[in-house]
Amino acid sequence: MSSLELTFITIVSMSAPLIFAVIGETITERVGIVNLSLEGTLLITALASFAVTIWTDSLYLGIISAGLIGGLIAFLIVLINFRFYINQIAVGFIFTIFLWKLSSYLGGDFVRIPGPYLDEISVPILKEIPFLGPVFFDNNILVLSSIILIPLSWFFLFRTKFGVNLRAVGENPSAADARGLDVMKYRFIYSFVGGVLIGIGGATFSLEVKYGWSEGHTLNYGWIALAIVIFGGWNPVRGSVGVYGFGILQVLSLKLQSLTIGFSQILPLIPFPLMILTLVLIQSANKNEGRWFPKPIRLLILGNQPQSLGITYKKDS
């Protein structure tokens, strides 16, 4: 295996948890809900999947429990918002801090235990294909699913009836309601789905990227995911491009550390100003009714925030 190929595989594998988190959050925000608990959810689900796997000796139970916990947290945020009209952002923020503290309290017993991890599923012959082989046919199920999830979620959001309805609820819930869509149901279901994906992202951390558990195990990736969702214009494909770009810069900085001093430390910082630049570009496409952009390009780079994102929905009474 060439070193370039190895680097490629490292980037794809390392990015898997972020892909899950970004796509999960993208779906959630597309239906109009901000799940700001991302960082906390990743931490608690990383711990949960690891602990459950140790107790039950089943990796799949570990992954499933992480997914369910992630979904449950999202469900709670929506429930509190709907029942008591409490701001989603406030609730999500409190959840982040609470879950972070909770994970470090509950995780004490699991620190530095050598842990289980996912095996590769190898397909003979096919795995010999350069680059694609090791990624698709000699990899574990989580990394593989993270790749498949990208086109799948895009297709769901933009090419199916359910996806259009989901986004309609996030854009203009009153109009969606007038057209007979059950806003509440949509928000509960798809926030839950998004939460499950985020939870699986947490499991991917402890079972795949960084085996085991340690305090602050998820490296603040939750916050980074929240930024990448915006960078990606609430589109799973663009968001994933952002995730891999972020991964490339991370790996580069590791590689270059031995060669240069000083410069490589700057590399991990690059994504952030880059994100802001991209947002400026997107904004200028919106402005002036985007007159100077050819229509297809404009539609491609348009990244409008779902219009009712984070706004509590109350039906006329």
Partner: protein, 476 residues
């Protein structure tokens, strides 16, 4: 389908929007509901379409009780509503907005199929809708057209049109009406909420008049339009056009001359006019007349008004009243009092007791139905427009009005114009746009005709005849 309203009541806080409303709409009829702004029409319609749950009462469809307060149920019963502000999704493409919520499409979206449907309907009505453009790039009229196509495609059996025709040209309107008659003949029920008496007399078979939330009367049409107006407005029904200004009277020798610089829209670079003139900008929906109005209002405007050779009217002396009142004119979640405080306070600390007094006065002067603590979004359209008038800056020299009476009833529209004529006596220039030619002829001195984003004709009212204007704005 037969629709029976029985004892429908609904109140919002202290305001009784509907009280014990009962009447029947028979199968295959085109039924009008009229009433002043705030008479309870919108509430009643929102109850029928499931958006609002009434406090009491019931609705029967073909003698079967309907579950109220559920839009799902209303959709199942094939009730479709076309609102004055279409309920669509501004960031979506036409295609996506068309599909959202529809239960007829397949799981995987078929673009070509939907394109075909939209283009077939558009051809029938002579409309032009680009399925690939974004909803926010369409005019309000086009959005309404798209909504109507959607309702027909989904097979709505009860079609509610809430003040719909402001976005349609005369020809288009005729085609829509023909189609509605056809549908009614097939047993559909059409409900038309409108302020336009001629329109109602043209296509409706029955009319129910609402007043202060109750049914005043249901009449078979046709009747004398004057009677209808009288019933609708009670005492305030003396609608006359004696407000009509005569430009000659106004064109006295003392008035200063102004000139309009309008390079972007015309080959003529300047138009010279007397101070105090009211300019009506005529054009159909999407003709660019609204863009023209807007082009005066900016720090570095494309179009300017010069009070002499070199000085143009400053930004701070221009007031722009947008047609989209809640989106561009007011702050939906702020109270009337807070709006007044913003406008009439120059100090950093707001004197709330003075503001309250002022607010009460302005509410009285402008006849706003509401109290100082009412949120702008909870006012009816007519009252929102009154509030906008109350907020016009005192130092205004150039007043820009985009469709100033869009969606207003005759009483409110009359109030708006009376008020504007008072403003004019202060020697301001008023420029307004309207899709309603009668409004242009009733209230302007000088007329600018728009077609395809260009000025196609200009002139004083007595020189430019209505038939010429009609031809010019439709591109002949």
């Amino acid at each position: 389908m037969k629709i029976e309203f029985k004892n429908i009541s609904k109140s919002f806080g202290k305001v009784q929007a509907n009280s014990k409303i009962s009447f029947t709409i028979s199968t295959g009829s085109i039924h009008a509901i009229i009433g002043e702004n705030g008479a309870g029409k919108s509430t009643l319609i929102k109850i029928l379409s499931g958006q609002i749950l009434p406090d009491e009462g019931s609705i029967k469809l073909n003698n079967k009780k309907m579950i109220l307060g559920s839009t799902q149920e209303a959709n199942k019963k094939r009730i479709g509503i076309l609102g004055q502000d279409p309920l669509d999704f501004s960031n979506f493409t036409v295609l996506e907005s068309f599909l959202a919520g529809g239960n007829k499409s397949s799981v995987i979206v078929s673009k070509s199929k939907i394109e075909k449907i939209i283009s077939e309907f558009s051809k029938k009505f002579d409309w032009e809708i680009d399925v690939n453009s974004l909803i926010k790039d369409l005019s309000v009229g086009q959005r309404q057209q798209l909504e109507l196509i959607r309702l027909l495609y989904l097979g709505a059996k009860i079609i509610i049109l809430d003040e719909p025709t402001s976005g349609f040209s005369l020809d288009q309107k005729k085609k829509v009406f023909d189609n509605l008659r056809e549908l009614a003949a097939k047993g559909y029920s059409v409900i038309l909420v409108s302020h336009k008496i001629e329109e109602i007399l043209e296509i409706c078979t029955k009319v129910t008049i609402l007043q202060n939330g109750s049914v005043l009367q249901t009449l078979d049409l046709p009747v004398d339009p004057k009677l209808l107006i009288k019933k609708m407005f009670g005492k305030s029904s003396e609608i006359t056009n004696n407000l009509t200004p005569s430009f000659i009277m106004n064109n006295n020798n003392n008035a200063k001359n102004l000139s309009l610089e309008i390079k972007e829209f015309s080959s003529e670079e300047k138009i010279k006019l007397a101070e105090g003139t009211i300019i009506g900008v005529a054009g159909l929906q999407g003709s660019g007349s609204d863009k023209f109005i807007k082009s005066f209002y900016s720090y570095s405007p494309q179009s300017k008004v010069y009070s002499d050779e070199i000085t143009s009217v400053e930004y701070s002396n221009i007031t722009y009243v947008a047609s989209d009142r809640l989106e561009k004119g007011l702050f939906p979640d702020m109270t009337i009092k807070e709006h007044i405080a913003l406008m009439y306070n120059s100090k950093s600390l707001i004197n709330w007791s003075n503001t309250l007094e002022l607010t009460k006065n302005l509410i009285n002067t402008y006849g706003i139905v509401g109290n100082p603590e009412t949120l702008a979004k909870n006012l009816s359209g007519g009252n929102q427009q009154r509030l906008m008038l109350a907020l016009i800056k005192e130092n205004t020299k150039l007043l820009l009005l985009e469709q100033p009476t869009r969606g207003l009833d005759i009483g409110s529209a009359k109030f708006v114009w009376e008020n504007l004529f008072q403003t004019r006596s202060k020697k301001n220039l008023i420029i307004f746009s309207s899709v309603d030619l009668d409004e242009i002829y009733d209230y302007s001195d000088y007329i600018i005709c728009f077609y395809d984003n260009k000025i196609v004709s200009t002139g004083y009212k007595n020189v430019l005849s209505k038939s010429i204007v009609m031809e010019k704005i439709s591109g002949n």
